[in-house]
C-alpha cells in the first residue's frame, strides 16, 4: 500500500514536470505565421530600444511598414557585437565603446544611427568615506571601471586631465553588479560608470559625482550598430531610424510618463530614474560628423594606449542613407 502511494506520487510529479516543460516549450515558440520580414534587434535593459519596446508603438509602426520586430536582451555590448558578427541579430543598441573595439578586432560593422549625449549622467562617483572632492584627489585611490565599455574611455580621459598615469591609481576592472556591491560596502573609493548606475550610487549609496563626461569630452552616446544587414536593407534602416526617432521625441516630451514606465520595468527607485531621465535628452538619428569624430577620438586613444591593435578610420563605417 505504502509503495503504491509512493509510486502514484512520483508518477504525478513526473507528469507535472513534463507538462510544465511542454508548456515552457510552447512559450518559447515565436509566432512565425506572418509573412513579414523579421528584424531582430539587440538591446540592453533601460536603453532607448527598451523604451520603444515597452511603449509598444514602434512594433506597430514597423509592422505597418512590413517588418516584424523581435527584441533580444543582452547583458553588455560585447555580447551584442558577437551576435551581430554571427548574423544572429540585425541591429544592436550599444554605448560608444563596444563598436570601436569590435572594428579594431576586425568585425565588419556599420554605424546606423547615433543618439544624444549622455555626458551629464556618465562620470566618476566617489564614496563618502573616500574623501575625494576633485579629480586630483584620485591619486592613490582604488577606482573601479568596466573594460570595453564607455567607462574605460572615461577613466583614461579623466586621468589624463588630472595629469595622472594608470600607475598613480589602482584600477580594478569589475562588472557593473560586482562594482555596485563593492561601492556600497566602501571596498572601492570611486566608480566610473553611467546612468542609472551613477544616479543610483549618488542617491542610494550617498556617493558624490566628482567629474562628468562634460568636463573631459566623453559623450557616451547611444549608437545603433548593424552588421551587413543595414547596408543590404536601406529601407528597413530608414524605417527603423524614423520610428525610433519618434519614440525618442515622445520620451523627451513625456518625461513623467517615461519615469513611471521605466521605474516599473527596471525595478529601480523612482528618484534614481527621475535623476537619470532629467539629466539627459533622447534622440536617435543619422550619425552626425560630430559623433563620428568622437568615435574616432576613442578609437585613436585606445590605439595609442595599446588597448586595441589596429588603427581604424570610423567614417568608413558610417552608413550613408541617401
Amino acid at each position: 500500500m505504502h509503495k503504491l502511494v509512493k509510486r502514484l506520487f512520483s508518477t504525478i510529479f513526473l507528469v507535472f514536470i513534463i507538462a510544465s516543460a511542454v508548456w515552457g516549450y510552447t512559450l518559447t515558440r515565436e509566432d512565425s505565421s506572418s509573412s513579414l520580414e523579421t528584424i531582430t534587434i539587440g538591446y540592453q535593459a533601460g536603453d532607448p530600444i527598451d523604451i520603444a519596446k515597452t511603449r509598444g508603438q514602434f512594433i506597430k509602426k514597423m509592422k505597418k511598414a512590413g517588418y516584424k520586430v523581435v527584441f533580444k536582451q543582452f547583458q553588455n555590448g560585447s555580447a551584442e557585437m558577437e551576435a551581430l558578427a554571427s548574423g544572429n541579430i540585425d541591429y544592436a543598441r550599444t554605448g560608444d565603446t563596444p563598436p570601436v573595439t569590435a572594428l579594431a578586432s576586425g568585425s565588419s560593422i556599420t554605424f546606423v544611427a547615433a543618439g544624444s549625449s549622455k555626458a551629464k549622467g556618465s562620470g566618476i562617483v566617489a564614496t563618502k568615506s573616500s574623501g575625494i572632492k576633485s579629480i586630483s584627489d584620485l591619486k592613490g585611490k582604488k577606482i573601479a571601471y568596466t573594460s570595453n565599455t564607455s567607462s574605460q574611455y572615461m577613466i583614461m580621459q579623466v586621468l589624463k586631465k588630472a595629469g595622472l598615469s594608470t600607475s598613480d591609481v589602482t584600477l580594478v576592472d569589475m562588472s557593473q553588479s560586482d562594482a555596485s556591491v563593492a561601492f556600497a560596502k566602501g571596498k572601492i573609493d570611486a566608480w566610473t560608470n553611467w546612468d542609472p548606475y551613477t544616479s543610483s550610487a549618488e542617491l542610494t549609496y550617498s556617493g558624490a559625482m566628482i567629474v562628468t563626461g562634460t568636463t573631459v569630452g566623453a559623450s557616451n552616446r547611444d549608437y545603433i550598430i548593424s552588421g551587413s544587414y543595414a547596408k543590404n536593407h536601406p529601407a528597413a534602416s530608414k524605417a527603423l531610424i524614423k520610428y525610433l526617432g519618434q519614440d525618442m521625441t515622445w520620451a523627451n516630451t513625456h518625461k513623467t510618463k517615461l519615469v513611471k514606465m521605466m521605474t516599473k520595468s527596471l525595478k529601480l527607485p523612482k528618484k534614481v530614474v527621475e535623476r537619470m531621465v532629467n539629466r539627459r535628452s533622447y534622440s536617435l538619428k543619422a550619425v552626425s560628423t560630430k559623433a563620428t569624430s568622437e568615435e574616432q577620438a576613442i578609437s585613436d586613444s585606445f590605439y595609442t594606449d595599446g588597448i586595441t591593435k589596429k588603427k581604424v578610420k570610423i567614417s568608413k563605417y558610417v552608413l550613408n542613407l541617401k
Binding site: 508548456w23 515552457g24 512559450l27 536582451q73 558577437e82 554571427s86 544572429n88 553588479s177
Partner: protein, 275 residues
C-alpha cells in the same frame, strides 16, 4: 492477558522510536531554518542593510508578487523545458558514446582521448562558439546544457561498464548467453549503480549550465531573471532566484534518488534472498 500495546515497556520503546523518526525528519532542516531565522532577526535589527541584503520576508514578498503576475511560473517552465531537453539529448549522446567506447577496444582508442580533451573545457569559454554555431535562440541554450550533461553521463557509464565483475561475465559465457543477453542481463544491471551516480551528478550540472546559458541573449528563464536583476542590483529578486536554484537542486536530487530506489530494486531483493 496483556496485549503488546498495553505493555508500558513497549509504549516507551514506541515513543522513543517516534522521537528518533521525528529527529530524522527534522535534523536536515535545522541548519537552513536557523540561518533564515538569524538572517531575519539581523535584518529587523538593522545589522544588515536592506539594500545590500534584503530580509527573508522581503524575498518571500517578491516571490509572491512574481507568482501572482505569472512571470515566475512562465520563466520556470521555460527553464525546465531547456534543462530537460538538454538533459535528454546530452544524456543519450553520452550514454551511446560510452557504450561504444566501453564495449569496443577500437572505438575506445579512436574516441576516448578526444572526449577526455573536450571534457575539461569550461562552459563559459564555449559561449562565443555556441553563439556562432547555434545563434542566440533556444538551440544555443539547449546545446550548452547538452554539452554540460554529456560528460558526467559518459564517464560514469564508461566506468560502470568497464568495472562490471569479470567473473559474472565469465559465468554468463558458461551459461551460453548470446551477446545481447549478456549485455542486457549482466552488463547493464552491473553498471547501473555507477550510471545512476552519473545521472545524479548530471542533474546538478544541468542546472548550473542552464543558468550560464540563460545569460546569453535571453528574454526568459530563471537565469535571465537573475542576471537581469543583477544588472540593476535588484537584490530581492536575485535572492529569490538563488532560493529557486537551491530548491531545484534538492528536487533533482530527490528525482535521482527515487530513480535509484526503483531501478536498483533487484539489489535489495537479491539481498533478501541471500539473507
Amino acid at each position: 492477558m496483556q496485549t503488546l500495546e498495553e505493555n508500558p515497556h513497549n509504549i516507551k520503546i514506541n515513543l522513543a522510536k517516534i522521537l528518533t523518526n521525528l529527529l530524522h525528519y527534522l535534523l536536515p532542516w535545522t541548519i537552513p531554518t536557523l540561518i533564515i531565522i538569524s538572517w531575519q532577526l539581523a535584518s529587523i535589527n538593522g545589522l544588515i542593510e536592506s539594500t545590500i541584503l534584503p530580509s527573508p520576508w522581503q524575498v518571500v514578498q517578491t516571490t509572491i508578487t512574481s507568482l501572482q503576475s505569472g512571470v515566475l511560473e512562465q520563466n520556470m517552465a521555460i527553464s525546465l523545458y531547456r534543462a530537460l531537453s538538454g538533459f535528454v539529448i546530452g544524456g543519450s549522446i553520452g550514454f551511446l558514446l560510452a557504450l561504444c567506447t566501453s564495449l569496443s577496444q577500437t572505438l575506445n582508442l579512436l574516441l576516448d582521448s578526444s572526449v577526455q580533451m573536450l571534457r575539461n573545457i569550461p562552459h563559459l569559454a564555449l559561449i562565443p562558439l555556441v553563439i556562432l554555431w547555434f545563434g542566440v535562440g533556444e538551440s544555443s541554450k539547449i546545446s550548452l546544457v547538452t554539452i554540460g550533461v554529456l560528460f558526467p553521463i559518459y564517464i560514469n557509464t564508461y566506468h560502470g561498464i568497464r568495472s562490471v565483475d569479470s567473473n559474472l561475465i565469465e559465468m554468463g559465457h558458461s551459461y551460453q548467453l548470446n551477446s545481447w543477453q549478456l549485455f542486457w542481463h549482466i552488463i547493464i544491471p552491473g553498471a547501473l549503480p555507477t550510471i545512476l551516480m552519473g545521472v545524479r551528478y548530471a542533474l546538478g550540472v544541468m542546472w548550473t549550465t542552464l543558468i550560464v546559458s540563460e545569460t546569453l541573449a535571453s528574454s526568459a528563464g530563471i537565469g535571465y531573471m537573475s542576471t537581469n536583476a543583477q544588472s540593476f542590483m535588484d537584490m530581492s529578486t536575485i535572492l529569490m532566484c538563488i532560493m529557486i536554484y537551491a530548491l531545484l537542486g534538492k528536487l533533482s536530487d530527490l528525482m535521482a534518488k527515487s530513480l535509484e530506489t526503483s531501478l536498483l530494486n533487484w539489489q535489495i531483493k537479491g539481498g533478501m534472498i541471500n539473507g
